[in-house]
């Protein structure tokens, strides 16, 4: 009898989800593009510098002919008005765009998850009040307020604490950097509402289960129950939603940079590069097309990855 039994290997939620994700060709495509893109923006600028001597700010000396050259072997994406290599600028801009997307999403995660978890766990009138506030905030046209916020506080009117924070992390007196920090907060604070709702819904369905009761019976504090026991169990939907928040935040950043109130020189993002390219689209279309296409490809991949993750992590909703 013993020789007939085959051992069944146990599988965890995450392994199972990973297997399902790998079956989804579009999600795998998205994952691969994102990995390549992240590696490219991290090491790409250094490689270009090593191979051709170009950096995102390198302007050819005055004795050389400065004009916008179309794509060539030396400059695969061409050069811009000042003669700078567009590939190097797109890679450098990718760093900023991805960083804004990821860090703003983390800000929205921290706020949204805490808020939703606290409201869901405490329940009753506190929950009612907290979610009413979310409902009210939902109907505010945020984009208007973000535009006002960024333009009144941008540039030389930067709030002191953001200046100090950006000086501490990224070196002193860098106005462009503190503008990017302002973007993190502005965009993060806009996108936490849905996250709070998602997490609250999850917590509501979890909080009456035995493990929470056990934790309460053994005298674990409310804070620890929420953040040690309940929040880790909401990870699946939170990851899915975060993956889909990154492209939408990146799109908003690009929109703001296009209007000239987002990322400021000397920094550039895909949005600000595309905005620069638009001015010359009739004569030098590559100035717009390459940053635009790179950005679209990234968002495309992130969206597919987010969709795939949702299907993989939540097989119940996958009726179709």
């Amino acid at each position: 009898m013993a020789e007939n039994t085959t051992t069944v290997k146990g599988t965890s939620l995450w392994k199972d989800a990973w297997k399902r994700l790998l079956k989804n060709k579009l999600a795998v495509f998205g994952l691969i593009v994102m990995i390549v893109m992240i590696i490219a923006v991290i090491i790409g600028p250094a490689i270009i510098r090593w191979a051709t001597g170009y950096t995102y700010y390198y302007i050819p000396p005055e004795n050389e002919l400065v004009k916008s050259f179309p794509p060539s072997l030396q400059h695969p994406m061409g050069t811009d008005d000042a003669g700078r290599d567009i590939l190097a600028r797109v890679l450098q801009g990718g760093r900023i765009s991805l960083m804004v997307g990821i860090i703003s999403t983390i800000v929205s995660l921290i706020v949204g998850v805490s808020y939703g978890a606290i409201a869901g766990y405490l329940g009753g009138s506190i929950d009612n009040l907290m979610m009413r506030i979310v409902d009210i905030l939902y109907s505010i046209p945020y984009i208007l307020i973000v535009i006002v916020l960024l333009s009144v506080f941008g540039g030389s009117n930067m709030p002191e604490w953001i200046k100090i924070l950006s000086d501490k992390i990224g070196g002193e007196g860098n106005q462009g950097l503190s503008q990017i920090f302002l973007l993190f907060f502005a965009l993060g604070l806009v996108s936490w509402l849905t996250m709070a709702r998602v997490v609250r819904g999850q917590i509501l369905s979890l909080k009456n289960q035995e493990f929470v009761m056990a934790a309460r019976a053994t005298g674990v504090s409310t804070f620890a129950i929420i953040f040690r026991h309940l929040v880790p169990n909401t990870l699946g939907p939170v990851i899915v939603y975060a993956t889909l928040t990154i492209p939408s935040v990146m799109l908003t950043e690009a929109f703001l940079s296009f209007l000239g109130i987002g990322v400021q020189p000397p920094f550039a993002s895909w949005g600000s590069l595309a905005a620069d390219g638009i001015k010359n689209v009739a004569i030098y279309p590559w100035q717009l097309i390459f940053p635009g296409v790179t950005m679209a490809l990234t968002l495309f991949s992130l969206n597919f990855l987010g969709d795939g993750l949702r299907d993989a992590l939540d097989p119940q909703t996958r009726k179709f």
Binding site: I140, I143, S151, L299
Partner: protein
């Protein structure tokens, strides 16, 4: 139902005032002033400017005056376009934005619903995969990239359409640019909603009763499948506003979005407050209309 509508309408007033307060605080706590420029003003002139705009009063009086003006709907004259009142500016520019936005949403509905319904009926077919990939592409191309590329192709290479003119042929490109992302969203929402509804019990009941497929689809399935699309209308409207800002800039249309950006960059406080108040109320009223329409689409939803 009626008391629900009245309660929600009454809620709009404090919420609009909240948005206005938030905007006012943001504009006010920022360092500097609308009149501070490159040159330092003599103290006497600064005094006079302050007096003219009531900036010499304590802040709570200024806040009170601002709120009272908002409630009366009188925002005074713009600081930059001094000859015109804020209301005149809004009413002059809003029709441009409204026409572009409305046409874009109608186009998005037409494309999105058709593609979504066909994709859900022919699930996993070539059309399904093709249209859904196209929808994903629509979600990923920023409209300020799409707009100039369309101009490049249709105006500068093919000479089919004008790149910027307020005419019937001139608004084709802006409308397409603005509608792309919404068509994509609506197609995805419709497909998902329809797939869920097509598997539900009441559709099986309808089929079991012997209703023909056309009635089942048009009278029963579509009605339920459209709910996600209807609830998207609220966020879509807010998004259309942001979208018109871009499209108006790309295609040089003198709409509300364009004026708003100018107002913000100029720190034109009355104009900023006026536009924010106008748009907030517009969005909130639309959200209310959306909530009311749920009741008609889904008989299970009742308002008390």
């Amino acid at each position: 139902m009626l008391s629900f509508i009245i309660r929600r309408l009454l809620l709009i007033i404090p919420m609009a005032l909240l948005v206005i307060t938030l905007t006012w605080v943001l504009v006010r706590i920022a360092p500097g002033n609308f009149y501070t420029g490159e040159k330092k003003l003599p103290a006497a002139i600064e005094e006079n400017i302050k007096k003219k705009y009531g900036l010499d009063k304590p802040w709570y009086q200024q806040y009170g005056i601002m709120l009272w003006n908002t409630v009366r709907g009188d925002f005074g004259n713009s600081l930059k376009y001094e000859r015109e009142t804020v209301n005149e500016l809004i009413w002059r520019s809003f029709p441009y934005s409204a026409i572009i936005g409305l046409l874009a949403y109608i186009l998005a509905l037409a494309i999105g619903l058709t593609a979504g319904i066909i994709a859900s009926l022919k699930q996993n077919s070539g059309f399904d995969y093709g249209s859904m990939s196209l929808a994903m592409l629509g979600l990923s191309v920023p409209n300020f990239v799409l707009g100039p590329i369309l101009v490049l192709i249709f105006s500068l290479w093919l000479y089919w359409l004008p790149p910027a003119r307020w005419s019937l042929s001139g608004i084709i490109l802006p409308v397409i640019t603005l509608s792309a992302i919404y068509a994509a969203y609506i197609a995805r929402l419709t497909r998902a909603g329809m797939l869920e509804v097509l598997r539900s019990d009441y559709i099986r009941t309808a089929r079991a009763k012997g209703l023909d497929e056309k009635t089942v689809l048009l009278r029963h399935a579509v009605r339920g499948g459209l709910i996600p699309v209807v609830s998207f209308t609220g966020p879509a409207l807010a998004g259309l506003l942001a979208g018109t800002v871009v499209v108006e800039k790309v295609f040089a249309i003198p709409g509300l979005g364009n004026i708003f950006i100018q107002a913000v960059l100029n720190r034109d406080e009355p104009l900023i407050l006026g536009i924010v108040a106008f748009l907030s109320i517009l969005i909130m009223v639309f959200n209310l209309l959306v909530d009311i329409s749920y009741g008609f689409l889904d008989p299970r939803i009742r308002y008390e």
